[in-house]
C-alpha cells in the first residue's frame, strides 16, 4: 500500500515569504507527527495530531509555525515570514495510534530559505 507522502520534495523560498508543506499520511492512521532535521542535527519534534483531539504543539519553535489536519487525514505545516534558520528537512510521520505503534515517515520536504 501507499506510504506517507509529502509535497513538495524541495522548496526554495526567499526570506520573509510564507510556505506551506503538505503531508498525506497512510490511510487509516489516526496519529500524525511533524519533525524537522536541521543540518547536522537530529530530528526535532514539532507537532502531533491524534484523531479529533487538540494537537500537541509543544515543539513548534515560534508562532510563525502552525499546522492543521483537515478531516483527520491530510496535514499542512505553514511557516510564515520564513527565516534562514528555518532551512531544514521537514518530515511527517503517521501511525495507527499515538502510543507505541510504529511511526512511518515520509521522504521529507527540503526547505531552503535564501
Amino acid at each position: 500500500g501507499a506510504g506517507v507522502s509529502q509535497s513538495p520534495s524541495n522548496k526554495v523560498t526567499e526570506k520573509g515569504k510564507d510556505v506551506e508543506l503538505r503531508c498525506d499520511p497512510i490511510s487509516g492512521h489516526t496519529a500524525l507527527y511533524w519533525y524537522r532535521q536541521s543540518l547536522g542535527q537530529g530530528l526535532e519534534f514539532l507537532i502531533y495530531f491524534q484523531g479529533n483531539s487538540a494537537p500537541d504543539k509543544s515543539g513548534l519553535p515560534s508562532d510563525r509555525f502552525s499546522a492543521e489536519r483537515t478531516g483527520g487525514s491530510v496535514s499542512t505545516l505553514t511557516i510564515q515570514r520564513t527565516q534562514q534558520e528555518d532551512s531544514a528537512v521537514y518530515l511527517c510521520a503517521s501511525a495507527w495510534d499515538g502510543l507505541t505503534d510504529t511511526q512511518y515517515f515520509g521522504p521529507g520536504t527540503r526547505l531552503t530559505v535564501l
Binding site: G42, L43, Y48, F105, G106
Partner: protein, 114 residues
C-alpha cells in the same frame, strides 16, 4: 537541552564484523526506546525497539540492549553488511504520557566497508 545523545557522529566497520552504535539519555521518565535507520533522501525507517521493562530485544542481525541504571542503550548489528550503511537514529518516548512523540539523538553514520 539534548535529552537523547549519540556522541559518535560516524562509525566505520568491516563487512562481517560487529557494529555497535551507542546512545545515552538523560530523562529517566522515558520508557520506550527505538532505533531508526535513514538512507539519504529518504525518511527514517523503524528498525527495532525496546521497552524499559526489558534489557534486551533481538530481531535477526539486530539486537538492542538497554541499561536503565546507566541511561544507556546500544544497537548491535552482527554480521554487518554493506547495505547497513546509513544514518542510525536513537529515539526515546513516554508513550502513555506524551502520545508517542519521539525525542531523537543526532544520529550516527555507519559505513560498512566490503
Amino acid at each position: 537541552d539534548q535529552q537523547v545523545k549519540q556522541n559518535s557522529p560516524s562509525l566505520s566497520v568491516q563487512e562481517g564484523r560487529i557494529s555497535i552504535l551507542n546512545c545515552d539519555y538523560t530523562n529517566s521518565m522515558f520508557d520506550y526506546f527505538l532505533w531508526y535507520k535513514k538512507y539519504p533522501a529518504e525518511g527514517p525507517t523503524f528498525l527495532i525497539s525496546i521497552s524499559s521493562i526489558k534489557d534486551k530485544n533481538e530481531d535477526g542481525r539486530f539486537t538492542v540492549f538497554l541499561n536503565k541504571s546507566a541511561k544507556h542503550l546500544s544497537l548491535h548489528i552482527v554480521p554487518s553488511q554493506p547495505g547497513d550503511s546509513a544514518v542510525y537514529f536513537c529515539a526515546a518516548t513516554k508513550p502513555y504520557n506524551q502520545g508517542g512523540k519521539l525525542i531523537f539523538g543526532q544520529g550516527t553514520e555507519l559505513s560498512v566497508k566490503p
